[in-house]
């Protein structure tokens, strides 16, 4: 499910089936890391679009959580996302990011961090872009299915 009116309405009716939330975590910079920050965002959004197509009926993709990398309350903010989603009834919460800051912080924030180093897509040919993303996404598909099986519905 995507973050739009139609899917949100469906979500409220079919809540018992949609137990997985996906939040893109993207750092924003307007200085030296601007290109990198934009590239990571582009990459994560494409990756998530692929996963959403695979798992539309069981996962809700929220708007991205964007933050400035120097921010002090980064961990507290992330924990708040996790807590809110838990309260909303989600059993599986994934934060998708290319920012290595989150790597291995799962327990601290109370959600599964899926850290994917981004590929600079730049001016890459569309076809190549999609097949690259697809390869990455397929590995993540397995991770998600595995998590689902650990905590069966």
């Amino acid at each position: 499910m995507n973050w739009n009116g139609k899917d949100a309405a469906l979500f409220t009716q079919q809540k018992e089936y949609i137990d997985t939330a996906v939040v893109p975590f993207v750092s924003v910079d307007f200085e030296t890391a601007m290109i990198q920050s934009a590239e990571q965002y582009e990459f994560i959004q494409l990756l998530i679009a692929f996963l959403e197509k695979q798992f539309k009926g069981r996962m809700l993709v929220t708007p991205p959580h964007s933050y400035f990398s120097g921010r002090d309350s980064k961990l507290a903010d992330a924990a708040e996302w996790a807590a809110k989603l838990q309260k909303a009834g989600f059993k599986h919460i994934f934060f998708f990011t290319s920012d290595s800051f989150w790597n291995g912080r799962d327990a601290e924030i109370g959600a599964s961090v899926i850290w994917v180093p981004s590929i600079p897509l730049g001016a890459m040919d569309e076809g190549l872009k999609y097949s690259l993303i697809e390869n990455q996404a397929k590995q993540i598909v397995n991770i998600i299915v595995q998590k689902w099986q650990e905590k069966a519905l």
Partner: protein, 166 residues
């Protein structure tokens, strides 16, 4: 205030050209439409999208065929990538099924997670027969949609998915 007031003649000239232009446009527009319309219609009715799949290589085992095309909704153009599961049935006819689960829309896969001879949906364990028929007792309540198919230069073309009456 403008330094050069518009003279009566200029004013009339401008206005009449303007009005004349509108009238000409009013007459020409329908003509252009008539000329262009058949082209637009042809596209809408034809609406088959090419794929890279050679028809001669299809067997009785479903294969995944990806195809993409550009979709234009008002000012928003997007590249759409779609998938079909394609095989030849006992009568040798091509069957192209939509992979979109009729429960809540996840993507099904042929013999996924070891479900022999079935399409499987990983989200809530939905199952479908090879024909696309939903297996009773699993969440989906309808068969998988089916694509109209066509062939051009030996390659498969797919239309818009329709309800499947198996």
């Amino acid at each position: 205030m403008s330094k050069q007031p518009v003279s009566r003649r200029q004013f009339l000239n401008y206005t009449l050209t303007g009005v004349g232009g509108f009238m000409a446009a009013g007459m020409l527009m329908p003509m252009v439409r008539f000329a262009v319309d058949p082209v637009l219609k042809g596209e809408a009715a034809g609406d088959f999208h090419p794929t890279q799949q050679k028809v001669s290589e299809l067997t009785s085992t479903p294969v995944r065929v990806d195809f993409s095309y550009e979709q234009k909704d008002a000012w928003y153009t997007s590249e759409v990538t779609n998938t079909a599961w394609v095989y030849k049935n006992d009568k040798g006819e091509i069957v192209a099924l939509s992979p979109v689960c009729k429960h809540l829309g996840c993507t099904v896969s042929w013999e996924g997670s070891g479900h022999e001879d079935k399409f499987f949906c990983p989200c809530h364990n939905g199952l479908y027969e090879k024909s696309g028929k939903n297996v009773p007792g699993t969440p989906p309540l309808k068969p998988l949609d089916i694509y109209p198919t066509a062939e051009k230069d030996g390659l498969l073309q797919l239309g818009k998915p329709e309800a499947n009456n198996v």
